[in-house]
């Protein structure tokens, strides 16, 4: 959790603080239970390999949640997440760290809301961007 962020303080090109996540097989089981997604490629290694995968892999929706956390941490309690888009381009396996990153692309006031658009992505420990995406948030103003 960070302090409240205001629209006026955000600069285009600004980088969001990196969020490091360390997913484990235990977390995948917890996520399966919490989300109701019991597809075996996320916890049964033999099943995953029989389906052409290198190992059990992270749920796409869990990676989506990591990028959601990147944004909700950044916008603070008075910010609002409006849009969150992610593409699962590469697979991620548990047991290695994964980093959520972002950069501010654009800010504008629209229909009375102070909007900020960010490019966001997950990067594996080899520096490969496995999960690119975008987010649009509304931030409070210091003056309004």
């Amino acid at each position: 959790m960070t302090d409240q962020r205001y629209y006026e303080d955000v600069q285009e090109g600004e980088e969001l603080p990196t969020l490091e996540k360390n997913p484990t097989t235990q977390q995948l089981v917890m996520y399966a239970g919490a989300s109701g997604d019991y597809y075996q490629i996320h916890y049964d290694q033999g099943f995953a390999r029989a389906n052409g995968l290198p190992d059990v892999i992270l749920h796409g929706a869990l990676k989506n949640a990591f990028l959601g956390q990147l944004m909700t941490d950044w916008i603070g309690l008075s910010g609002t997440l409006k849009k969150l888009t992610v593409q699962y381009r590469g697979m991620d396996i548990p047991g290695t760290p994964i980093y959520a990153n972002g950069v501010v692309k654009k800010k504008c006031v629209q229909d009375g809301e102070q909007l900020v658009e960010c490019e966001i992505w997950l990067e594996n420990h080899k520096g490969e961007k496995t999960t690119p995406g975008t987010a649009v948030v509304a931030l409070p103003s210091r003056t309004l």
Partner: protein, 154 residues
């Protein structure tokens, strides 16, 4: 590698057919369990006492919590020729926060079906649109997902 399309008339007929609505009760414990599962310690998702001091007035659901509000089966059956599947991505548009005690009604429909050659051979892309509506009739979120079907090796 065959270039034969696996897209059938049955699949095309299923595009746009909405599922029967399913209504889920949002439980506070389920929100906390979800926040723990994704490893997000934000007090507004985990701690009622701390969350009450915020503008939300209590715990709210993390953005992707709605994934646990599973939709009903498709009315127009699609016989997917591929037994293996991967999640291709997700686009969320959020309009309202989700609170404990909300009743969320979920409907889903296939918006598009197409195929492409990829590293797993012929891959079948199914684009699905899911709508989440609360007990006041307000759309809380729209989600557009891509699922990818493929033939497992051997």
């Amino acid at each position: 590698m065959s270039n034969d399309s696996v897209i059938t008339q049955q699949m095309l007929d299923a595009v746009g057919v909405e599922s029967d609505p399913v209504t889920h009760q949002v439980e506070k414990g389920a929100i906390i369990k979800f926040a723990q599962a994704i490893g997000d310690p934000n007090p507004v998702f985990n701690n009622e006492r701390a969350a009450r001091k915020t503008r939300h007035g209590g715990i709210v659901a993390p953005p992707t919590f709605l994934r646990s509000m599973i939709s009903g089966p498709d009315k127009a059956k699609v016989e997917n020729p591929y037994s293996a599947g991967l999640d291709g991505g997700s686009e969320w548009e959020y309009s309202e926060p989700v609170h404990p005690g909300d009743r969320i009604t979920v409907t889903t429909k296939i918006a598009n079906i197409y195929e492409r050659q990829g590293r797993l051979g012929n891959m079948l892309f199914i684009i699905r649109e899911t709508k989440y509506v609360n007990q006041f009739g307000a759309v809380v979120a729209l989600e557009r997902t891509t699922s990818i079907g493929y033939q497992p090796p051997e």
